[in-house]
C-alpha cells in the first residue's frame, strides 16, 4: 500500500520519534553536556572539559567498575541461560506436576527485586540457612555478603535464581515451535536424547538463545535494587557495578559531571554489546535469510 502523501509515513512515526527524542535522546545529550562540567546540583557548573573522563580512567574506577559489571553479567547471563535451558528441556512435557514445577520456577521472576534481596540476605547471613547447611556437612559457614571475595558472586547467584524462570519460559516457547516430526524422524534414524538435542533442539533454538542472552544481558546491566538493598556497593566497592556507581556519584558524592561521564561510557558500551548481539542474532537464523532471498 502506497501512502497518499510522501510525508504520511513520517507523520505516523512522529509520536514515537517525539517520545524517543524527549525521553531518550534529549537526556542523553544533557548527560553528554554535563559530563564536561563539574557540578553538584547546587552551585553553578564549572567547565572541566574531559577531566571527568580522565579522572575515571586514572583512578582505575572505570576499569574496575567495567570488570565487575562484565563479570557479574557473564555469570548471570551464562548461568541463568544454561539453567533455564536445562529446566525447559526437562519440564517440557505434559502433566500437572510439570506444570506446577514450571509455575514454581517462574514465580521467582515475578517477585519484586527488593523482596528477593531481603529473602536472600537472610539466607546468606553467616548464621543463615546456607551457612547452617554447610556446617551440617562439616564445612565452615561464611559471611558471603561481607567478604569482598564472595559478595559479587553472591549477588550474581541471587540474580540467577531470580531470572532463570524467565529464561525457562522463553526457552519453553522456543521448544514448542520445533515440529515434533523432526524428533520422530531423528529417533527413527536411531538418534538418542543427547544427539536429538544436539542436532535438532539446539540448532532450532539458537534464535531463542540469542534473544534470551540479549534480554538477560540488559537485565543484568541494569541491576541496581539488589545492590542497593543487599550490599550498598560494598564491601570495598566489590559490588559497585555500573548503575550503582552512577547512583553513588550523583546522589552520594555530589558529582553530577562524573556520573554523567559514566552514563555516556555506559551508553557506548551497551551500544557496542547490542551491535554484537544483533550480528549474532542475524547469524543465528541463516535459513530464514536464505528463504527470504529465494523468494
Amino acid at each position: 500500500m502506497n501512502p497518499r502523501h510522501a510525508w504520511h509515513p513520517y507523520a505516523l512515526l512522529l509520536p514515537t520519534a517525539i517520545f524517543l527524542g524527549v525521553f531518550f535522546l534529549l537526556p542523553l545529550a544533557i548527560a553528554a553536556k554535563d559530563s564536561l562540567y563539574a557540578w553538584d546540583l547546587l552551585t553553578p557548573p564549572v567547565w572541566v572539559g574531559l577531566d571527568n573522563y580522565r579522572a575515571l580512567f586514572r583512578s582505575g574506577e572505570l576499569v574496575g567498575t567495567l570488570a565487575r559489571t562484565l563479570g557479574y553479567s557473564a555469570v548471570v547471563v551464562l548461568l541463568s541461560g544454561a539453567l533455564g535451558l536445562l529446566l525447559a528441556v526437562t519440564l517440557d512435557r505434559p502433566g500437572k506436576v510439570f506444570a506446577f514445577v514450571r509455575g514454581a520456577v517462574f514465580s521467582a521472576y515475578v517477585v519484586s527485586w527488593v523482596a528477593v534481596a531481603l529473602l536472600w540476605m537472610l539466607i546468606l547471613d553467616p548464621d543463615g540457612i546456607l551457612s547452617a547447611a554447610l556446617r551440617a556437612i562439616g564445612l565452615p559457614g561464611r559471611a558471603w555478603l561481607a567478604d569482598p571475595a564472595t559478595a559479587l558472586w553472591a549477588l550474581a547467584g541471587v540474580s540467577v535464581w531470580k531470572i532463570t524462570g524467565y529464561a525457562m519460559v522463553i526457552f519453553l516457547a522456543g521448544l514448542q515451535d520445533i515440529p515434533r516430526s523432526l524428533y520422530e524422524a531423528a529417533a527413527l534414524d536411531g538418534a538418542g536424547p543427547l544427539r536429538r538435542f544436539r542436532h535438532v533442539t539446539w540448532p532450532l533454538l539458537r534464535p531463542t538463545v540469542a534473544f534470551v542472552t540479549t534480554t538477560s544481558l540488559i537485565l543484568s546491566f541494569q541491576a541496581f535494587d539488589v545492590v542497593r538493598v543487599m550490599t550498598q556497593g560494598g564491601p570495598v566497592r566489590s559490588t559497585t557495578i555500573f548503575v550503582y556507581a552512577i547512583y553513588e556519584h550523583i546522589f552520594m558524592n555530589l558529582r553530577v559531571g562524573r556520573a554523567s561521564a559514566l552514563c555516556i561510557v555506559f551508553f557506548f558500551l551497551l551500544l557496542a554489546l547490542t551491535a554484537i548481539q544483533l550480528r549474532v542474532m542475524r547469524g543465528a537464523a541463516p535459513r530464514e535469510h536464505a528463504r527470504s532471498r529465494a523468494r
Partner: protein, 461 residues
C-alpha cells in the same frame, strides 16, 4: 437582570456532584467529558498544591503549615513525632508536617534534588559535615533573621552548636541549630561482664585483652565476638584523635592525622586480622551500623562502639526476650589521649520555602530549642541535650545520677575534638576516606598506602 454564575473553585470541581448537575440535556457525552477533564485538572492542581513544599498553604483548621523532612526510623522517629504532636497542642497558629525521607544520606540526596527543583522543605536536618557545603552553596537561610525574636537568646551547649565550627568562620551568620547531637560511646553486655569479672576497657591495650577474653570460638566458627564497630569514618576519627592526631588541622589542611591516622587504622586491622576479635560488619553506611546493633542485641558481640543515639533503643531491646541482658555504657578508651568527635545532625532551613511555611518552621525550631523539648528529646532517645539550661536542669533533677549510661556522652564532651568545617569536608569523608578505610580493614591493604591515596583523593577538586 441575570446575575453572573459564580465561577467554580478547584475544590468545587473536585467535589463529586449529582449527575443531573453535570449533565445538561443536550450533547451530554461531550459536556460530561469536558467536566470530567476539568475535574481531573482541578484534582491534579489541588494535589500539586498540597504536595508542593515550596507553596504557601493553610491547614484545614487555618494554621500555617511548614514541612519537616526527617531521617529517623524506630524509636527516634516515634519521639520526634510525639514532639510534633505536642507542638500542635501547645499552640494553634502553626502546623508542622513531618515526612520521613530515609536515612541521613538518602534524605540529603532528596534534599539536594528538592533544592535544585525549588521544592525544598521549610525545615530539615543534616549531618554536621554537610552544613559547610550547603552554606557555601548559599542554599541555607540565615536563622538569626528568620527565627522569631532572633537567635541571640538561644542557650546552646557550646560544643554542639555552630559556634567555632566553620573554618575561618568567626563572622558567619547562623545557619544551623543543633538537633540530635551525639558522640560515639562504648556499649557492653553488663550482665556478661559481671559474670566474667571484666570491666569496660579504658585503653587500647585493655580493649585488645578484653575482646580476647570475651571471644568464644567453636571450631572455625566464632560464636561470640569480643568487639564490634562499623568501619566508618566517624569511629576512625575517634581513633585518630585518641592516637594524638587531627583528621583536619585547625588551618583546614586535610592531613588525615598523619602517623596517628595510620596507627588508628592499624589498630582496627590488628583487631580484625591479627587478634580476630572484631567482627567486620556487613553492608555500608547505616546498614553496617544497624548490623552492629543487631549483633550486640543478639549476644553475638559483647562490646561495641556506636553512637549515643542508640542508648534507649539498645537498653529497651536488650531487656526483652529470652537472652535478656543489661546494657552498660562507657567512654571510648584512650590511646595517647582521650578524644571523641561529635556527630549527629543540625537543623537547617533551606532557601526557597514559602514565607508562611518558613514562619511555621521557625516557630517549631525555636520551640524545640527550649530546655523542656530539648531534654525530652535527649532523655527519650540518648542524644545529647543541646540546651545549656536544659542540661543544668537534668543535673539538678538527678537524671544523670539515676541514668549513668546517659552521663557517658555528656562527660565525653570535655574531650570532644571539633573538626573545622570546610566545604570539602563531606566529600573528603564520603569519597576519599570512607571507601579506603573499608579497603584497608576488609581486604586488607597497607594502612599507610591507603591513607596516602586518600589524602591525594582529598586534594582533588
Amino acid at each position: 437582570m441575570t446575575l453572573p454564575r459564580p465561577r467554580p473553585t478547584p475544590a468545587d470541581l473536585a467535589q463529586p456532584r449529582p449527575i443531573s448537575a453535570v449533565r445538561p440535556a443536550r450533547r451530554a457525552p461531550s459536556t460530561s467529558r469536558r467536566d470530567a477533564l476539568r475535574a481531573l485538572a482541578a484534582g491534579i492542581a489541588t494535589a500539586l498544591a498540597a504536595t508542593g513544599t515550596g507553596c504557601a498553604r493553610r491547614a484545614a483548621d487555618g494554621r500555617r503549615v511548614g514541612s519537616l523532612w526527617f531521617a529517623y526510623g524506630g524509636k527516634n522517629r516515634e519521639v520526634l513525632l510525639g514532639l510534633v504532636d505536642r507542638f500542635h497542642a501547645a499552640q494553634s497558629r502553626y502546623r508542622i508536617e513531618p515526612t520521613y525521607q530515609g536515612e541521613y544520606f538518602e534524605c540529603l540526596a532528596k534534599l539536594r534534588t528538592a533544592i535544585a527543583a525549588r521544592s525544598a522543605p521549610a525545615l530539615t536536618h543534616v549531618v554536621g559535615e554537610v552544613v559547610p557545603y550547603l552554606a557555601e552553596a548559599g542554599v541555607l537561610e540565615p536563622l538569626s533573621r528568620i527565627l522569631p525574636g532572633g537567635a541571640e537568646d538561644l542557650d546552646i551547649v557550646p560544643a554542639l552548636g555552630q559556634q567555632g565550627t566553620f573554618l575561618h568562620g568567626a563572622d558567619r551568620p547562623l545557619v544551623c541549630l543543633p538537633f540530635n547531637r551525639s558522640t560515639p560511646i562504648a556499649y557492653y553486655n553488663r550482665t556478661l561482664f559481671q559474670q566474667m569479672g571484666l570491666a569496660p576497657p579504658t585503653t587500647w591495650d585493655a580493649l585488645r585483652t578484653t575482646a580476647q577474653a570475651l571471644l568464644v570460638r567453636r571450631g572455625a566458627d566464632t560464636v561470640r565476638w569480643g568487639f564490634g564497630c562499623p568501619v566508618d569514618w566517624w569511629f576512625w576519627a575517634a581513633l585518630v584523635g585518641q592516637a594524638g592526631g587531627n583528621v583536619v588541622e585547625p588551618n583546614g589542611e586535610v592531613t588525615l592525622g598523619g602517623e596517628a591516622g595510620v596507627r588508628a587504622l592499624r589498630f582496627w586491622q590488628t583487631l580484625v586480622h591479627e587478634d580476630r576479635t572484631m567482627k567486620p560488619p556487613p553492608g555500608r553506611d547505616y546498614n553496617a551500623w544497624q548490623a552492629v546493633n543487631t549483633d550486640f542485641l543478639a549476644g553475638k558481640v559483647a562490646l561495641i562502639w556506636t553512637s549515643t543515639a542508640f542508648l534507649r533503643y539498645l537498653e529497651d531491646n536488650a531487656a526483652k526476650g529470652s537472652g535478656a541482658f543489661e546494657v552498660g555504657a562507657a567512654p571510648l578508651p584512650r590511646g595517647v589521649r582521650a578524644s571523641v568527635p561529635t556527630g549527629g545532625t543540625l537543623f537547617v532551613m533551606p532557601r526557597g520555602a514559602a514565607p508562611d511555611a518558613q514562619e511555621a518552621a521557625a516557630a517549631f525550631l525555636r520551640w524545640m530549642m527550649e530546655p523542656e523539648q530539648a531534654n525530652h528529646w535527649a532523655t527519650q532517645t540518648g542524644y545529647l541535650p543541646v540546651s545549656r539550661g536544659g542540661l543544668d536542669l537534668l543535673e539538678r533533677q538527678g537524671f544523670y545520677a539515676a541514668h549513668p549510661n546517659d552521663r557517658v556522652a555528656v562527660d565525653q564532651l570535655a574531650v570532644a575534638a571539633a573538626w573545622p568545617w570546610s566545604p570539602a569536608l563531606f566529600r573528603v569523608q564520603r569519597e576519599a576516606v570512607q571507601p579506603r578505610l573499608e579497603e584497608a580493614v576488609l581486604v586488607p591493604r597497607d594502612a599507610e598506602a591507603a591513607l596516602d591515596e586518600a589524602r591525594r583523593a582529598a586534594r582533588e577538586p
